[in-house]
Every structure is written in C-alpha cells, then in structure tokens.
Amino acid sequence: MINAVLVFNNAGQPRLTKFYTQLETSVQQRLISEIFTLVANRPNSACNFLPLPPLLANSSKSSTPTTPHNDTPSLVTYRHYATLYFIVISTSTESPLALLDLIQVFVQALDGLFENVCELDLIFNFETLHATLGEMIVGGVVVETQLDKVVDGVKAQGTVAKRPVNEGKGGGLNFGGFGRGDGVWTGR
C-alpha cells in the first residue's frame, strides 16, 4: 500500500503532505526534509527511486526477509516536474514502475483541472490538490487510475477555482532575482 504522498518544490517547501498513517507533525517535517535532501542532489540521468531516507531505513532493517512482503515502507518513488517534486512512499506490494505512472496520472489530472497547471495553482488551491489525490488514493489504496474519472470526481465536488487573476502568467509580481531557489536557502 501507499504510505505517504508528498509534493514539495525545488526549495523543499511542502505543497502537499498526505500521510496514510498518523504521524507526529515534527516527524513528518523531518521526513520531508530528509527526502528533500535525497532528491535535491539527484542528477539528470538518475532513476526515479530513492534510497530510503534515514528515518525509514532504520525501521526497515528489522524486517524479516522470509516473507516476500511486509508492512514496512520500502520504496520511495519520485518524479520531478518543473518546480515540483512528487514523492510516493510505499510498501513492496506496489509496483515501482506503476507508481511512476500513477504520479503521471496525478499530474495530468491536475493539468486537466487547472489547464496548464503550475506550482502557483497548487499553492492557492491546495484543497483541490487534496481532493484530486482523494479521488485516486483512499487510505493508501489506489482506487482510481483513469484520468477522466479522477477529473470528473473532483469536478463533482464543485467548481475548481482558477488561479487569481492578478497572479497570471508573467504577471506583475516580480520577486525575481533568484534562480531556481538555490542560493536562497543557504543564507537562512
């Protein structure tokens, strides 16, 4: 099953956190930053699977290799779209390649809902983001993988807000001067 779905941007700021088990807020944050650390250093050619972050690696060592499956999260899959990282943490009952497709469906669904989705859309409509995920995964179990059904399911819950007009593309807000959000964090 899927243990958690995370979305954060290039600077490690969370945009969506969904843990399918109850976890202390502080532990959640630590996990996010550990995964971000892992993912931020990945080169271009690298595969989309992460080694387990230290928090999870410790717990997985005790698992018995006798059974083919167990409850321990053993797979961290990610995809990187523009400014955002999409992360799925799962146990061995999920197929790694299928999870990659699942993330793709998720992003496509968001794109269908927002029309050319970008990080801003997700920041301002994080409820919709959750709703979309809720149409695909319930309690860690994938319940829908078909794009149109996911989109329909979200739309049935009410109209999806567009991004605020004055935040439009190439909009007036100009906080520019930072590339990629790199150097910013070092000073903080």
Binding site: T25, L31, A46, V143, V184
Partner: protein, 1036 residues
C-alpha cells in the same frame, strides 16, 4: 474586522519576506480568534488557513474541537474543509475522536455521494478499533451504493477498518467478494477490490485461493494494465500455497511478457514468475528453461537499454530476488551487474551492491571487492563541514517563506519531468554501507570465499584509510552512543576474527594490528581528515596484547600504547589498551632464559616506571572500566617494579642469575592460561550446570567477621606475605618491607642512564627484528613476483620482477612518498619500515596455488542452533534497538494474519470459529438490547437530574454540553465528556446497533448466561453514577 482568506494569507507570506515567522505567528493568533466566531464561513476559513500552515509543521492540535464543528456544518464546502483538517491534523491521541464518530456515521448515510466521499476518505486516517466496529454497520450498505465511486472508496475504507480491527473483515468480506465476483461491476470498482485483495492476500494467501478462478479470468481478459499488475502480484503470493496454479498461470504470463508494450506490466510479470516460485517449479523442463531464459533475457535487456535508469533499477531488484534461488542465472549477467556498481546514480549503486553481495563467490570476490575499493578510494572523504547543501533543511526547518521566484512557480508542470544534472557526492552512509558490504562478503560463511588472507588483511588496512569520519562525541555522552555502529569497529572485528580463526595468518594479522597501533604511523594508516576508522584501535589494541608473542617489535608497540595521546582515546579503546599494556610488557619481561643482568634490570625498571607513569592519572578516569583496570594494573606494576629492583642482579658475563619470579611466572600466568577460541553465540547457554553446583550456601559463613577483622588489621601484614611469595626468586630478598612506592615521575627523573639504555634497547630490538621484517617482505616479493599489481618500494635492490606498473610507481617514489591515490589498484604494500637486507629469503609456495587455509569455526556444544548463525561476524547490532523503533509510517497489518476468512468448506477449526461468531453475534445482540435499555434509562435520568441541577452548581458540565450541542453531536457524547472519563463512558458511547469492544471484553470474561445479571448491573452502575452527580449538585 479585517478577515484574511487563505489567498490573503499566502499573499501576505509573500509580502513579508524575511519576517515570515512573525507573520505566521500573527496569522495563527488571528485564526485562534476567528475560529471561535459563530460565523461558520469565518470559522472554516480560519481552519483552512491553519491546515495550510500545518503542512509546514505548525501545530493545530489545539483546534481539533473546531475541526469537529466545521465538519458538522451542513454546507458541503465547510464540511470538506473540516474533513481535510481532520485528516491532516488528527492524531492517535486526539481526544475529540470519540465525538467525531457520530458525525462520520451521519455523513456516511448521507444521500449525497460527494458528502459520503468525505467520511470515506477520512476514516482511514482517524479510525481506531472501538470506532471501527461502530462505523462498520454504516459502511457495509455503501458497498452496494448506486454510485461506483462510493463503492470503490468503501472497499478501500473497509480495508483500513480491518487493519485496526480485524474482526470487521468477517462481515465485510462476503460482501466485498460478492462485488468482485460480479461480472457487471464497474471496472474501477473491480480494480479497487483487486488492490485491496492484493494487500490482504500476502498475509493469508490460503484464504484467497477460492478467488483464483475469478482472478485468473480477470487477468486473461486483460484490458487494464494497472489491475493486471496487481493480479500478478497477488498470484505470486498464491502460487506457493497452490502449486497447481503455476501450470495455469505460465501460458498467460509468458504471453504477456512476449506481447505487452507496457514496461511496468512486463516487469511485474517477470517479477511475479520469480517471486511466485514459478521458476523453481518448472525447473528442468524444456518449458522451464525457456521461461528462465526469457525472464533473464528481458531483464538483461532492461539493464542494457540506453538511458533508462528506472529499468536498470527495477531489473536489479528482480535479479536480487533471483539470486537467492538461481545464482547461476544471475552470474551469467555478472558483466552488466558489475557495471552498475559504478553507476553515477546512488540508488542503482545501492541495489547493485545488495545484489553483488548475493552473487559473490571465491572466484569473483577479489574482483568485486577491488571495484568497490577503487570507488571508495577515488572519492574524497567528505568532512562534516563539506555539505552545507545537505544540511540546510535539516538545520533550519521548513518555513513557508515568500515565493521569491514567481516565474518559477508559474512554470507549467506539464511538458516533461525536469531534472537537475550535477553529479551526486558520495554520501557518507553509502560509504559506510560499501565498507559493511565488503566485510560482509568477505566474512560470508566463515570466510569460505577467501583464498588469500594476507590480501584480506591488506584490504582491511585499506578500508581503515577510507573510513568516513564518525561524529565527534563528547566524553560525557560517549558511553551512551552505540559504538558498535562505528565502521572502524567493524573493520577491527574482522581483524580480530581473522587473527583468532586463521592461525596461519595470525602473525600477519598481529603485524597489521601493530602497524595500526603505532602512533607515529597514524597519519599513514588513517584518513588524513576526521577521526575515521579510529574504532579499529580497540581491536588492534586487543590483538597486540593478546598475541604479544607474535609482535615483531613489541617495544615500539608498548611505546605507542603508552603514548600520551592514548589518554584521549574513547574510553572503550582506552580500557582495551590498558589490558594490552601488561600483556605486551609481560611478553617483553617474562623470558626466564636470559640472565638477570643489571642491564636487564634497569630496562625492566624503566619500562615499569613508564607504565606506572601512564596508569597513575588514569586511576581517576571518569570511565569506571578504565579506572578499574588502571588501578588494578597500577598495583600489579608497582609490585613488579619492587620485585625487579629488589632482585639481585648477576654480573654482565657471569653466571646465570634467575630473574624475579613475579616477572617470569606470575605475570605471564595472568594472561596465558588458555588460548582464546571463537565460541558460537549461545554456546554458553549449553554448558550444563554441574549437578553439585550450589550457589545458595555462603562460601564462608564467617564472612562478616572476616571483613571486619580485615578492616581492623589493615593490609600491611598480609601484603608482606604476598610480596614474599612472589618476589623471592633465589632467597635473596632485600628490604622490601620499608620501601614506599615511588611515584613514576620521580623514577623517571632519577639520574640514571636509563634513557640511554632504553634507546639502546630500542635499537637492539630494531636490530633483532629486521630478519622478521625482511622475511615477510621477501615472502611477499617472492609470491607476488609476477603480479603486475604488486608494488615494491625498493625493487631496485630486491629481486622481484620489474613490471611496468611497478616501474611507474617506483619513479614516483623516488621523488615523493608513495602517492596512494595514483596507484591504480588496491593491493598495496603496506610494509615500509626499515631497509631490506638481502638474504634471509625463505621460499614459500607461490601464490598461484591457492593455499588451503584452516579456518576455525565456532566452538559450541551440541548441534548449532539458529542463534549461532554466522551473522555475528560483522554486525550483531540490528534487532534490539531497531525493533522498538519499527513503527514509522508503517501500517501494522499483523492483526490480519490471525484472521481466517476461508469459506468454511469442511474445515473443523473453521466450524468452530463460525460457532464462535454465532455465539458472539448472539451475545452482541443481547448486549445491544441491554445497552439500548440502559441508554434509555440513562437519558431519562439525565433529563431528570438536569431539571434538578439547572442552576449554579454544574456550570462546567453545562458549558461543555452546550458547546457539544452546538456542534450538533449526539447528546450522549456530550454527556460523556461532561462526566469525564470513567467506566461509564464506554457505555455512554455505545450505539444502538453495535457493542463497543470494551464492553464486549468485559462480557466475555463473565461466565455464560450472566447476561441478565450484567444488564442489571450495568443499569445499577448507571444509576449510581447519576446519583452521585445529583448529590453533588444538591450539596452545593
């Protein structure tokens, strides 16, 4: 009043760049106000903002009651916000969870599908066992809801219910199965059910065998790759319990492998064939060979395909599973797999590393280890300050700071995944894990793969040099830290193991340990930066002590052990050093064949003085272990020193004079009683307890008296006797009595020519030694003479064949020291001391012929048991601490393992359970009746008591009640809260149609047929409780 929407909050954050912390705190303060408002819009907006901030780690647990309020709003928009907040913020210990139950039940029964979806999505996050049972009855009808979306979500929710309370699966399973068997069911629902069954399946595969035909049909029908993947995964767990499935599955699986265009499906097919044991089952048949060839061929294809790292990764995963059962199949792919060890991608490297550990054998061990060593050596060791990138988030924590680059955030996510492209640094933990694996591979099966132990010793030395630095620990917490985690210690353990187990290389191993212990060689032997590898000293220290007779130069070793820097070592290492010092000393001093000349006497006295000088400050060391050993050996040394000075010396060239017995007999006897052999873990337990062993009778009934007497008398007299016994070698025992021990510092100050003689002695030792050194070197030279990789620093003089490689290195050498990094291989000559006199060559069998090395196994009694597996060689550290830590992110489904779901065809045990279920159901029905009655009575009484106690007295209770009412949550919960916790609470929460667990348990304890009594008892209890409240009210 100014109100902020979520939009305003986010905008505000952007506009307060640099001051986000204050801004957030202000916003949370505002939210606290707003959330108390009566305006539901305002409330829900505030909650939304809090939920947004929660994502960044800002606690909102204080708002859990307000979450409940918003959840109960009739407006869908509010509800959705409330449910999202509940999912994101409720934790196991959230108190209002009990109150949420009714709201959940109510919304599940809503006529609007979108409303039903909300609790369905939320229940998996908030459910607890007592709630599970009560919610179940509302969930089950949703399985047949007209809307497929509701049906599929219900299935998933039911699964999570079963996880927290397995019994709920019993009534739910038949209905889920019905959905699955229904051919006309919506494919989405079927797929969801398959997903759930796949999760359930691996726990108890036998229960799901009856579904096999249906699942098989679904697989063959095809159409949905997602579902096919899950089906294959499910079948892989079913085939081991039902081998007949294999024959059936093979054709469709091979068909998919041949035809499918979806890589994921192809991979899972192969994976399923491997994991389901299909490969083994059909082994030997023509068909089986073909399948194996097909699978391995496809996997190889995945590895070779240019540019797709993901396929490479999963192929390695699959190989890892094959390697256990079919090592030869994997060995054929060795070339591509070994390639992956050097892959720039850490994830792939890790997988490859896992894999090669499984495929190693005596032939490829050297090559694989060589590859890994090269990798370690070529990457510089990162010091702690090296990685600001790595630590930045950890140190600062994430703050939702202003979006400084909007242009970025606006970048469309659609086109393609984007990836940065700097090469990754070699992370520390990877380095550690490589070293661990090397040790693991080499020590596998008690070193069965190693043919050349001297090579292994060199590898170990090299590993010390590339060890990453361990975190510096202050002396205070040093003891708490699990030092076994240190990789240096791991290497040390190996060194120790080799020395103990392999007698033929013991002297080499001790030599290695000796070179590690030398203080002046430390720069050479250890990483230049950080404290990497220092853990090895603990074991090296032990080795030089325990096998002191093998030492080629014991005196420098002793000097190094006594070096002033030793005091700064970790206390564990220091304790080992303390133990080693007298051992080495005793090997130096104990020779009774050499006459006790004045020279020898001064030499010994000097050595002992230095030891005493070293030990004295340690007798107040903070570590108890160090302190105790220091004090013990300090006394022993003083004793020995006195004996040495007190024993008359013979003349330089005269007759043989016996050295003091304390040095030649007593001291060695302490350490050389029996040789240490490896003992299997757990062997100690098997030592039979002697029958006549009586631990209960006191050894001396007069102990108290003796002790007090001893205290009175003091030590003087006894001591003298002891002294006498040891010191008197030839009867010439002089003036011990009055002598007070002199401090070591004083002794060192004494104007004697000791320093000179010490120097002399050292030179002499060096002088004596070279034949040993030379022999070793010569052996090496001889053995490696046609090894192109062997580097001989003084090949000019030596007789070794000059290879191109060695020539290059030699040229380098003439200018500078050996530049380790420029040497293309890992096989280093680590002997670099002293000139090599020609001659003294001893021929040994050349390297070509693999030596038969005798490796000692563990000693044990009786048959070896499981706990004595060889896993203790490298790392005995897992298990204890980590098992406790297990739970992170993990959903525990172990409860499902004991829940039988099969259809009860003929199973006896099954019938029993069915009986049990029936009985339980009957019980529950009765219980429900009783509880309903209790509830009715209680409400009546409550109303009554409320009527009586309206006024001033029950203010607190009433206040709370009011709130709850407003939240529109059933009155009985409000009551429960008002009353506070208590046994009655469980009853209060009982619902009309399902009994709570707590009650049921109570019920089960009681004997059969007591239901009636229980019932009335419960009533009475209620009444009593009521009365108390009423009484309080009346009194006040």
């Amino acid at each position: 009043m100014f109100e902020k929407s979520l939009y305003d909050l986010i905008r505000g954050l952007r506009n307060h760049k640099g001051k986000e912390k204050e801004y957030i705190n202000d916003s949370i303060k505002e939210c606290r106000k707003e959330i108390r408002s009566n305006d539901m819009d305002l409330k829900s907006t505030a909650l939304m903002k809090l939920t947004y901030l929660e994502m960044f780690g800002h606690d909102m647990s204080w708002a859990s009651f307000n979450v409940l309020e918003v959840m109960s709003s009739p407006k869908y928009r509010h509800k959705r916000t409330g449910y999202l907040a509940a999912v994101q913020s409720f934790r196991r210990d959230t108190e209002v969870l009990m109150l949420a139950e009714n709201q959940l039940k109510k919304d599940i029964s809503s006529p609007t599908p979108t409303v039903i979806s909300l609790p369905l999505g939320a229940i998996p996050h908030v459910i607890n066992p007592s709630m599970a049972n009560s919610v179940l009855s509302d969930l089950l009808p949703r399985l047949t809801h007209s809307h497929p979306v509701i049906r599929k979500k219900t299935v998933a929710t039911l699964y999570r219910l079963a996880l927290v309370y397995p019994e709920t699966l019993r009534p739910a399973w038949p209905k889920i199965k019905e959905r699955l068997q229904d051919d006309n069911e919506n494919p989405s629902v079927t797929a969801a059910i398959v997903n759930v069954v796949c999760e359930l399946g691996w726990r108890r595969p036998q229960d799901f065998l009856p579904l096999a035909p249906r699942l098989f049909d679904l697989l063959v029908e095809g159409g949905n790759n997602w579902m096919a993947i899950k089906l294959i995964k499910l079948f892989a767990t079913l085939t081991p319990v039902e081998p007949r499935l294999i024959k059936k599955l093979l054709p469709p699986l091979t068909k998919i492998i041949r035809e499918t265009g979806a890589m994921s499906l192809l991979y899972e097919c192969i994976n399923g064939i491997i994991q389901g044991g299909i490969l083994e089952a059909v082994e030997g048949t023509a068909e089986g060979d073909e399948v194996a060839r097909l699978c391995v061929g496809k996997l190889r294809g995945m590895m070779v395909i240019e540019g797709d790292a993901n396929l490479k990764y999963v192929a390695l995963l699959a190989f890892d599973k094959i390697v256990r059962s079919h090592p030869y199949l994997v060995a054929q792919q060795q070339d591509v797999i070994l390639e992956c060890i050097d892959d720039p991608d850490i994830s792939i490297r890790m997988r490859a590393l896992d894999l090669v550990v499984g495929m190693v054998n005596s032939e490829n061990l050297t090559a694989i280890v060589g590859r890994l060593m090269r990798q370690l050596r070529n990457a510089p060791i990162a010091s702690a300050t090296d990685g600001p990138n790595n630590d930045r988030v950890r140190n600062t924590g994430v703050v939702p700071y202003a979006e400084e680059d909007d242009s970025d955030a606006e970048e469309s996510l659609q086109p393609h995944e984007q990836r940065s492209d700097q090469p990754p640094p070699l992370p520390e933990d990877y380095r550690v894990s490589v070293i661990r694996r090397i040790l693991d591979m080499c020590s596998r099966d008690t070193y069965s793969n190693i043919t050349d132990f001297e090579w292994y010793l060199d590898v170990l030395i090299q590993l010390v040099r590339v060890s990453p630095a361990t975190k510096a620990v202050s002396a205070a917490e040093e003891d708490d830290i699990e030092q076994t985690d240190d990789i240096g210690a791991g290497i040390g353990r190996e060194l120790q193991n080799v020395a103990v187990r392999v007698k033929s290389v013991r002297s080499e191993a001790v030599d290695t340990a000796q070179s590690l212990v030398f203080v002046d060689k430390r720069d050479q032997m250890f990483p230049s930066s950080g404290n990497g590898g220092q853990g090895v000293l603990e074991y090296a220290g032990w080795l030089v002590g325990e096998y002191a007779i093998y030492l080629s130069s014991p005196e420098p070793v002793l000097n190094s052990l006594l070096h002033s820097t030793s005091v700064q070592l970790p206390s564990r290492t220091l304790a080992v050093y303390l133990q080693a010092i007298p051992k080495v000393f005793s090997s130096l001093a104990s020779n009774d064949q050499i006459s006790w000349t004045p020279e020898r006497q001064t030499l010994m006295s000097l050595l002992m003085a230095r030891i005493i000088h070293f030990l004295e400050p340690l007798s107040t060391h903070p570590s108890l272990e160090v302190q105790e050993r220091a004090v013990e050996y300090l006394e022993l040394m003083r004793l020995a020193a006195e004996a040495a000075t007190g024993t008359a010396t013979g003349s330089e060239h005269g007759d043989f004079t016996d050295p003091p017995l304390l040095l030649t007999q007593a001291l060695p006897a302490l350490f050389t009683a029996a040789e240490l052999n490896p003992v299997a873990r757990g062997a100690q337990h098997k030592v039979p307890v002697p029958e006549d062993l009586d631990l209960d009778t006191p050894i001396n009934p007069n102990l108290q008296f003796l002790l007090s007497q001893a205290e009175l008398e003091g030590f003087e007299t006894d001591e003298d006797d002891v002294y006498a016994a040891y010191i008197e070698p030839t009867g010439s025992y002089t003036e011990t009595g009055g002598q007070v021990s002199v401090s070591a510092a004083e002794r060192l100050d004494a104007p004697q020519k000791e320093t000179a003689s010490y120097q002399n002695a050292a030179v002499e030792e060096e002088y004596l030694d070279p034949d040993i050194i030379a022999r070793r070197k010569a052996e090496r030279k001889e053995r490696y003479k046609d090894d192109p990789f062997y580097i001989d620093p003084d090949a000019d003089k030596g007789s070794g064949a000059v290879t191109p490689l060695s020539k290059i290195v030699r040229e380098n050498n003439s200018n500078t020291d050996i530049d380790i990094d420029s040497i293309p291989i890992m096989d280093l000559n680590l002997e670099n001391r002293g000139p090599s006199p020609a001659g003294n060559h001893r021929t040994r069998s050349p390297r070509k012929v693999p030596k038969r090395v005798e490796i000692m196994g563990d000693e044990t009694l009786g048959p070896p048991d499981e706990s004595s597996n060889r896993d203790d060689i490298v790392s005995p550290r897992h298990n204890q601490s980590q098992k406790a830590k297990k739970g992170l992110l993990q959903v525990d489904s172990s409860g499902l393992g004991s829940l039988s779901l099969d259809d009860g065809d003929d199973n006896n045990r099954r019938k029993l359970t069915r009986l049990e279920v029936e009985r339980r159901e009957a019980e529950e029905a009765e219980m429900r009746k009783a509880l309903a009655e209790v509830e009715r009575k209680r409400l009546e009484m409550q109303r009554e008591s409320e009527r009586i106690a309206v006024k001033e007295e029950a203010v607190v209770v009433r206040k709370k009640k009011k709130k709850v009412r407003k939240a529109d949550i059933g009155g009985e919960e409000g009551e429960g809260e008002g009353e506070g916790a208590g046994g009655a609470d469980a009853d209060a929460d009982a619902d009309a149609d399902a009994a709570p667990v707590k009650k049921k348990k109570k019920k089960k304890v009681g004997p059969e047929g007591e239901t009636e009594g229980d019932d009335t008892a419960a009533k009475k209890k209620k009444k009593k409780k009521r009365r108390v409240v009423g009484l309080n009210g009346g009194n006040e």
